[in-house]
């Protein structure tokens, strides 16, 4: 009886030895998790407010977190696909002031004098009214940023064949370029592409040499009436 008890006790002790004191040469030391750092809530992106739109793609998405020691900056490119009669959208565009001083800005639309994308043409000034800054003047303090609003609006009764008759389209270069763009479903290749810019000037600058920035925008339209009707229906959903 004593031997049995002794044997059982010894067995139990031997079974637990490996769990407590056996050195494991090849195992890494246990990882101690770093203390949790609570980061401030990120500023909501203004793009969250846009309705899902299959008709355009915006290439810059978020608030710039880096600071600008001096000067100012604006958001860059917008690629827009499939503008049609009745289209309306308010698109945010970033304006960021430097840390050096307060500035007063003037915002306006200009045409692109030289196309940057093969197959696109400068948008005639007549059509710049389709793209208007909601605010044409803004004052920002040191280090402040602001989301400007660019209103895109093609009149509902506009006959798109008019712009198509004015601009060069359906040539091989444009088709090659357009083939690479992410297009809405069913968009006909019978389409034109045009470029324009949103320009921001700091009117508080002095001196002979002054700086200005432009945001590059692209638009296309189509004469495919079936697609236009489809897009207009989607917009109303």
């Amino acid at each position: 009886m004593k031997r049995t008890i002794l044997a059982v006790t010894l067995s139990l002790m031997l079974l637990f030895v490996g769990c407590v004191s056996t050195p494991v040469v090849d195992q890494p030391p246990p990882i101690v998790p770093e203390p949790t750092v609570t980061e401030p809530e990120p500023e909501p992106s203004p793009f969250d407010q846009l309705q899902p739109n299959t008709n355009f793609e915006f290439t810059h998405q978020d608030v710039l977190k880096d600071t600008l020691p001096e000067g100012y900056g604006i958001g860059s490119n917008c690629i827009m696909v499939g503008l049609y009669p009745g289209y309306y959208e308010e698109v945010p565009l970033l304006l960021k002031n430097g840390e050096d001083r307060e500035r007063h800005f003037v915002i306006y639309t200009v045409t692109a004098h030289t196309p940057t994308v093969t197959g696109f043409v400068p948008l005639p000034e007549t059509y710049l009214t389709w793209f208007t800054p909601k605010e044409t003047e803004i004052t920002l303090g040191k280090g402040e940023h602001y989301w400007m609003t660019i209103i895109i609006s093609m009149p509902e009764d506009y006959d798109v064949s008019r712009i198509h008759s004015e601009l060069e389209y359906l040539h091989a270069d444009f088709e090659d370029t357009y083939a690479k763009l992410e297009k809405p479903e069913g968009l006909d290749i019978g389409t034109i592409g045009a470029e324009f810019k949103i320009r921001v000037d700091d009117v508080t600058q002095t001196g002979f040499v002054q700086l200005a920035y432009t945001s590059q925008w692209y638009m296309t339209t189509t004469t495919n009436t079936a697609w236009i009707q489809w897009a207009q229906t989607k917009l109303k959903e």
């Binding site: 031997r3 049995t4 044997a7 010894l10 067995s11 031997l14 079974l15 030895v17 490996g18 769990c19 407590v20 004191s21 056996t22 050195p23 494991v24 195992q27 890494p28 246990p30 990882i31 998790p33 290439t59 810059h60 998405q61 978020d62 608030v63 710039l64 880096d66 600008l68 020691p69 001096e70 000067g71 100012y72 900056g73 604006i74 958001g75 860059s76 490119n77 970033l94 960021k96 004098h113 030289t114 940057t116 994308v117 810019k197 320009r199 000037d201 002095t206 001196g207 002979f208 040499v209 002054q210 700086l211 200005a212 920035y213 432009t214 945001s215 590059q216």
Partner: protein, 173 residues
């Protein structure tokens, strides 16, 4: 019999204790970070003035400073940029001087060169933009040449005139 079984059990327990390793601590799951960077167009330029001084009708071209003084444009944004130039007429006094291709009657000209070139062949216009450089990632040096009108009205003698040269930057396509 019982003693034999007991000894066998003890030996087996000893052997298992020597072979089985200790249970290691669980490793933390790796974290995946995704960074989204906004594209912002921004730049600086070292020169902000171009003092020409007193000129007479028909004077030759004046370069920026007494010799080829270069200005440096620096990209301070986070996307490559294209830089264009646009000038204005010289205003002040009785008559403005028009910015033109060739100096003439109340017409002055302004040309730039690029990246330490000795040839001033980039015409600066008021009615259109002129390319200075494209796909600029860091810095770019440039300079200018001013040519006064060949003729101007005596009513403008002694009057100061000024104009503006704008460097317009946009993201490279």
């Amino acid at each position: 019999m019982r003693k034999g079984l007991l000894r066998g059990f003890l030996v087996l327990a000893l052997l298992l204790a020597m072979v089985l390793p200790a249970t290691p601590a669980l490793a933390a799951d790796p974290e995946v970070a995704i960074t989204v960077t906004a594209q912002v167009v921004s730049m600086t330029n070292t020169q902000t003035s171009f003092p020409v001084g007193v000129v007479e009708a028909g004077d030759g071209a004046t370069k920026w400073g007494s010799s080829d003084t270069y200005s440096t444009a620096e990209n301070t944004g986070n996307v490559d940029i294209d830089i264009e130039l646009q000038g204005t007429d010289l205003e002040g006094g009785v008559y403005d001087w028009t910015l033109g291709t060739t100096a003439g009657d109340k017409i002055y000209s302004l040309y730039a060169n690029s990246d330490h070139s000795t040839t001033y062949n980039i015409e600066i216009k008021s009615s259109a933009y002129t390319d200075l450089t494209t796909s600029l990632a860091a810095t770019w040096t440039w300079s200018m040449q001013f040519t006064p009108p060949t003729i101007f009205d005596a009513a403008d003698d002694g009057t100061e005139k000024s104009s503006t040269l704008t460097l317009v930057a946009s993201a490279s396509a």
